[in-house]
Symmetry: C2
Subunit: 297 residues, 2 copies
């Protein structure tokens, strides 16, 4: 199986698990249909499921079977999709296209999009706190705390706030790095760390996963910014050239395309180096780091 086939196979299992959760049959109360419909639209509309894949592969380093990582992976994807829905809102990035379809507030309405995002974020925590996600409550607690920190004001939400403030301003390189570490880095780092939490990784193993996640997050964002300048709208399933038009602060804008490419290569090398202690067990993660840096969509 090629890496792309592996990612697709895992994505199908994640999709299946998400479909189960979003059918709304697991909780005690039947959720209102329109809201449930909107949440399904936001989550089940495709996507590479990269973060769940990272979580599952990092957990696999410690012998955790796919089946036993799927709930945590589904929770993570709910949190990721919540952030996409809210970021796309008119008051935020005002995007029309997401994964090749109208964004949620256009397909439904703005109030429903806000609530669907709220519902998905909350569902992420519900899943993490559910005993079937892991039998050990301390593991569930660590997963919950990690997601809350990665997604909250000192993570993803904070990064989005900085991103909005930065529009039209000229940020320094360090400020851009900080912004991106919060906005996209934190959740990708969490994906890797969460695999370690599920696998009860300790000490240097855990730190290696965090380092890998941090570097991979930086590579992911840089690749994304490069694609916004050089990529193909149809392959991407979203608008390109938007960052430039919005005056958004990106490393590509500050460093230029060539220097940004060199930095991306460095990040890829360092991310791969951070996996060395796991030997051949980490081959898939090594390939994933290459994929993330070199992807065309």
């Amino acid at each position: 199986m090629t890496l792309t086939e592996q990612i697709s196979a895992v994505a199908a299992r994640v999709e299946q698990r998400l479909t189960g959760y979003l059918a709304g049959v697991r909780g005690p109360a039947q959720p209102p249909e329109r809201l449930a419909e909107a949440m399904r639209y936001a989550v089940l509309g495709g996507g590479k499921r990269l973060r769940p894949f990272l979580l599952i592969e990092c957990a696999a380093l410690f012998g955790v079977k796919l089946e036993n990582a799927l709930d945590a992976a589904a929770a993570l994807e709910c949190a990721h999709c919540y952030s996409l829905v809210h970021d796309d809102l008119p008051a935020m990035d005002d995007d029309n296209l997401r994964r090749g379809r109208p964004t949620l507030h256009l397909a439904f309405d703005e109030a429903t999009a806000i609530l669907a995002g709220d519902g998905l974020l909350t569902l992420a925590f519900e899943i993490l706190a559910t005993p079937q996600t892991h039998s050990d409550p301390a593991v569930r607690g660590a997963l919950t705390l990690g997601l809350a920190r990665a997604a909250g004001w000192g993570g993803m939400a904070g990064g989005q706030s900085l991103d909005l403030e930065a529009e039209g301003k000229t940020l320094k390189v360090d400020e851009i790095r900080y912004l991106q570490a919060l906005k996209t880095g934190a959740l990708i780092e969490y994906a890797c760390a969460a695999g370690g939490i599920l696998g009860k990784a300790e000490g240097a193993d855990r730190m290696a996963l965090e380092t890998f996640g941090r570097l991979l997050g930086q590579a992911y964002q840089l690749a994304d910014d490069l694609l916004d300048v050089t990529g193909d709208k149809h392959k991407l399933g979203k608008e390109t050239g938007k960052d430039g038009r919005a005056g958004k602060a990106t490393l590509v804008a500050v460093l230029g395309v060539d220097k940004a490419r060199l930095e991306l290569e460095r990040l890829e090398r360092e991310a791969i180096a951070s996996l060395q202690r796991f030997g051949a067990r980490a081959d898939t993660l090594v390939e994933t780091a290459r994929f993330v840096s070199r992807r065309e969509h």
Copy 2:
């Protein structure tokens, strides 16, 4: 001490704890200042802190000291304030006034209000998952799961979705009750249940708290709807008559003021009756039920 003094004294302690959390010094990353400022505006602007008070008093039935219930109470208030911020948004209820001050999206901007709500909801889960909230990870897990269910698509967010859908429609009494059970009932029921979780209440004790919370939630909403018709804007610190103008479905509109008052009295009686097994230990909660039903703001 009168009940009002007691509530104020507890509110001051909750405020203090919230101030500590919202100073942003406890987490690993320093949150962006503008977002942190908005979150403080949303949370530290007064309010009776009724839900934290209920949690603390229900926990006290089982010997839990105030000090040991404050973190869970602060988390609950964060989740409550998140819902106020998002409900007030232009795309939702479009409110201008909250606790006697401009709503968050007017004091800051819409994007910041969305993110501040997101940040507060996430912070609620961060606090609940933090070991200092309770030493037993199973207790923290139960608190987390309970809040997620109460706040999510099958609870508060679902209720808000139904409420928006209901505008201009004529709902049946049962549909209104279902909507309100989700929109305001779920979090008040959780406040009482969470006190029991903190106190490791079991069986009939736990059920009694849930019943009390459910009835109190219904009473709270009915009193609120009555105040919207008969109350004083200045005492309330928010607009009155809004439900009627928005064509919102309330029991008062369907039953009329007199029948609604009778139902409120019945709810108060039944809520108090559900506390019988706790004897004099529940005196403060009994008084609270009276206060909630008879309040003027």
